[in-house]
Amino acid sequence: MRTFDLLVLVAFLVYIVWDGVRRGGEVKNAKDYLLAGRRMRWWAMGLSVMATQASAITLISTTGQGFATGMKFLHFYLAIPFAMVVLCSTVVPWFHRAGIYTAYQWLETRFDRSTRVLASLVFLFSRALAVGAVLYAPSIVLSIGVGIPQWLSITVMGLLCTLYTTVGGATAVITTDAKQMLVMFAGIFACLGVAWWRLPDDVGVSGLLQLAGAAGKLDTFHLPADAREALSDPYNLFSGLLGGFFLFLGYFGADQEQVQRYLAGSSVEQSKKSLLMSAFAKVPMQFVILLLGVSIWGYFTYRPAPAFFREEELAKALERRTDPEAAALRERFAVLRTDYAARVEQRRARAGELLAAERADADAAALSARAVALRAEEAELAKLRSAGQALVAEAGLPQPKKNDQDFAFTHFLVHEMPIGLAGLVLAAIFAAAMSSVVAPINSLATSSVVDVVALLRRRPMEASELVRSTRWATVFWGLLGTGAAFFIGDRPIIEQVNRIGSVVYGSMFGVFILGRLVTRARGNVGAISLASGLLVVLAVQHLVTNPELQTQLFRIEQPLKIEFMWFNLIGFAVVMGVGWLLSLFAPRLPPAAAVAAPSAAAR
């Protein structure tokens, strides 16, 4: 990276830390520290909600997905507008009017303390691991793709986030998140602008879209052929709209990381508007990020591109070695590069033929034949990239399993972005990572103190004590997350973290809806239903990831595969079903007594 670009990054980091730390002066009581004084405007909370959800790896991997497989990933987000409307009609007014610090306090007013503590512990467990993963994942790409040492990016991001979250609390989190989200937007549009600006004149954006469509990269509306495909393919309309619906209900409605953002609103209306901002902006934003990946693919169709993005690193590593194995690898590498260069030329020729046919208004059959030829070249290039990936592994480079496509964005940033703009995009990556770290640290600290530590004490906590304890808890969770990022390594823990999210969200949201809809479900019914939902989802997950077990148990020929998004629906249904069944054995109470005033537990 050029010095000026690094200076842009440093200036951004200094500003964010200063902006976060100065919010500490606004903290006068617990409400200020935990809920930003409940005086936040909808646009700040809305940007914070979006920034919390969009991590650096979202930015890097999503563009990588756009580059390699196209825009199918967009299906994942299609349910967000519908989920947000449901949340605005349900939990947002419930939580806001209850005057609570954490979503789990509401559960105590409706069920009992065990339900609140169980939900809080599930949240703490699932989120604690995620902080380390959110820091670790982009650090690999920044280290290999940009040259920033892994220890440096983890330490800088982890410690800076801990510092300004500890001092400024929720106000610092929301205000810095909002600014970081704007930097992310700026970085994304800067990249898109450069990629489009530098396309050949005879191609342009319309030609790029035609080529991407012909290569099968614009699949944004995919109907599954049958139920099996709907369950096993994560990116189709059914899994996106139905599985995704319950995933986002759980993530935005029962995860303290997000709930704490919109609880900071000055009114119910402001909180609702903040969530509806995502309803309007999230799908277009993801569309643009994926389109950026597709545009980078189109850009490298017409400009010199490496056979795979770690080519330069591999070449340097092999140059340093003198052993016979390295000589053989060098030879294979040279052949691969020659093959790749020839294939790239052929792909460019096929692309030219397709665009010429489009300009000549050729019939559908002729266009289809040219699209098939282009896709065949793409498939050959993908094989060569896989061969490159295998060479990376054989040469013993670090992170051999990391998808090559994840380096497309950073390669474009380092080699193609003009000076200054590259710094802005680098700042956008840091902004994405940091905004996804501060929110969990802040909410982990809040929930651990309010829902666990405060309940273990014999006397109620004073406001000053609550602020002090939450500050210490913020330091604890921040340092734990930063430390965990160093020890995660290449273990499958990141995948597990993502899976844990889907294991818990549906069940967690289910218990809130159970509390509202089934008035006879009281006491420990909440905790039992929640535990049942979690256990069933874990069992289903174990079953669908072990085809042999399915064959043994059910004697089926074709084992069933269920993608993780469906776990949310399963968890929700089990919690509702178990809760309703148990409620049948409970004595009937008048509705007024069944739904207690939530403010009673708001302490």
Partner: protein
């Protein structure tokens, strides 16, 4: 300001707050309906986009 004036002022403030809350809820409902329409419109636009570049 005597007590009756203060009481009158408080009741006017409460009434204004209640009116604002009702107006806020109405605005919120309108926005939610628009979000639902936007969700459906997004699906239609994506279908049109995919179809426009299908070969």
């Amino acid at each position: 300001m005597d007590d009756s004036q203060q009481a009158g002022r408080d009741s006017r403030d409460e009434a204004a707050e209640a009116v604002e809350e009702v107006a806020g809820e109405s605005r919120g409902r309108h926005l939610m309906v628009r979000a639902l329409v936007w969700g459906v419109l997004t699906l239609v636009l994506l279908w049109w986009f995919e179809r426009s570049y299908r070969y």
